[in-house]
Symmetry: C2
Subunit: 200 residues, 2 copies
Amino acid sequence: MTQPTEPVRRGRGRRPADEVRREVLQAAGELLLAEGMAGFTIEKVAALAGASRVTLHKWWPSKGALALDGYFNVVGPTLAFPDTGDLAADLTAQLRAFVHLMSHTQAGRVMPELIGQGQTDPELMAAFRERYSAPRRALAVEILERARRRGELREDLDLEVIVDQLWGACYHRLLIPDQPLTDEFAEALVRNLLNGVGRP
Amino acid sequence: MTQPTEPVRRGRGRRPADEVRREVLQAAGELLLAEGMAGFTIEKVAALAGASRVTLHKWWPSKGALALDGYFNVVGPTLAFPDTGDLAADLTAQLRAFVHLMSHTQAGRVMPELIGQGQTDPELMAAFRERYSAPRRALAVEILERARRRGELREDLDLEVIVDQLWGACYHRLLIPDQPLTDEFAEALVRNLLNGVGRP
DNA sequence: ACGAATATGAACACAGTGTCCATATAAATT
DNA sequence: AATTTATATGGACACTGTGTTCATATTCGT
């Protein structure tokens, strides 16, 4: 009688489809966090996952798409949007959490590299927008929409613009780090935009 | 008597230093605009310039640094900052010009690719910040500083944050194109920030 | 049980990088 | 003017990574 858990004896032939998929995503995520986009290659992912490069090419349209899948696999669910009824407090809390994630966790090292790669990897950018940025924008707009109904915002606003002036400002500092991403920054964003920076 | 302008007869041996430099920058700029970062390789630049790859490696620390040099060589001086004494008008004019540059010229195709490449090319990011983003931030802050002295802005502001909420918002739409870069956007940015979006 | 789907190893061509030479020429120094 | 130094060049090389083809082995759906 052989061992109950047969040691991995890989050779030719098909392997369970989702087993391969899980191992590849795991390997992609680990490699991405360990080496960043610079050291992220399809070849290395395949080797780490014990899979064939051919398989990876079959299921992922580009290196970036594979990296993004790996990222989601390892980083976990995105930040929740608080909605307590106080817009300023909710926005500040959400932005502080986002700033923290981007400046004190591995996500902050990888996220800009993914966006960067997306600039020359259409498959990655498409997946990023569909699975990450668009849904998060929609969530933010929803929060803003509710606040407007409560009377906390003026009626004649394009809420999408507000999203860019809050989170977009953060991405700016993330991608072009002339200035630091700090809590004070997150707080100033909300204060500036809600109250206005002009003289009363 | 031979032709006054001897046809290029290249072979071994040193060539005039700045002649090589000029030809390389020219080639780099042209290739960048023609094919974007995706098709931009040191090899192609060398071939176009009639230079040796070794030479390019010697003078430029990375592919991105070469591309950025080529970009500056071909795109020309950056946009001027108007300063008429009316902050809202000046900001709107500047942002509209920037938005136009990024959505209706070749610069708008290349700029995001350069920033993208910069995420995994430290030499490029360093050069980009030093030669482009930092000086432009400083210029914007200067305009804001003057407006504040004129009494158009509140006293207790971190002017750097304002830069991110105006130009950073544009870069956000440039790099993650979930929403379009339009004139109305540029105008809304200034209106929102100066007046505030909260209920009075 | 059977056929379709697919993962695998191996091999190949290809592009690009980064580096080494020896050599020829420009630029600087004497 | 002669000489030394700097450097651009062509050619070659090893290396990495991409993308593909092929035959074969195995799983999966029916």
